[in-house]
Symmetry: C2
Subunit: 116 residues, 2 copies
DNA sequence: CTATCGTACAACCGAATGGTTGTAGATCAG
DNA sequence: CTGATCTACAACCATTCGGTTGTACGATAG
């Protein structure tokens, strides 16, 4: 596993980047990787600069990649990054599950398909 | 599935809550559900009030539950909430994967175990 | 009853967020 | 060359964040 040693700051950036509806949507829109920054901007009710900033946040979180094509910058979603997010959740889950195990007893409360 | 219709604001709150190392740690510490707010606060280099606020954020994201026990408030991690986070990531992933499908061609770039 | 502990809440503060406008440099079209 | 387009970046602004201190109140201990 290459994506393994995620430090706190990295995880912070990752979840922070995902904590915004516009950014989550950009991740989806940029999946096919053929949209420029301004092309993206046209899809949202805000300025190009605002989108530039969102893309920058996504980029520094590793969720997206920007490559130049002529005068435009094509934004492409980074496939591995969502996997990394999953991995983080798994890790979190494993940790509190470990806590539970060590304390025992309360295990009956997480029948694996629980809901509230 | 009970946890299904997560609206944007809810997802925002969820990921935002997870985008802080202290809060993520609280989620783990509170797994066994026998720690009060002040007991939690003793584990971090910050004031009780700061922890209260973190717990409030986690609570409004549904990641944690607070129940009164005498004069203390016991903080307990909500098992279903992490599952909800997973579900959100799955949904995101499904969406951009759908985009890819519709565009076709680039599929070879995500061999399912990819890493930058 | 009194003192202490755990919590709640308001007020404040500096830093970061999420948006804007304005300016300027590259690249492309005619 | 000229003009339009795309991007970058600085500056600004209001709001939110993450922390603090201070005050108040209910619950517990002596």
């Amino acid at each position: 596993m290459v994506v393994d040693q995620l430090d706190d700051a990295e995880v912070d950036r990752l979840f922070h980047a995902l904590a915004d509806a516009t950014r989550r949507d950009i991740v989806v829109q940029a999946a096919a990787g053929n949209l420029s920054v301004s092309a993206l901007a046209r899809r949202y009710p805000m300025s190009v600069t605002a989108i530039q900033k969102h893309v920058a946040v996504l980029e520094s979180a590793g969720l997206v990649r920007k490559e130049r094509r002529g005068r435009e910058r094509i934004v492409t979603t980074e496939p591995a990054s969502l996997a990394a997010a999953h991995q983080m959740l798994d890790r979190l889950e494993a940790m509190w599950r470990g806590r539970l195990d060590r304390f025992g007893g309360v295990l009956s409360e997480i029948p694996k398909g629980d809901q509230t």
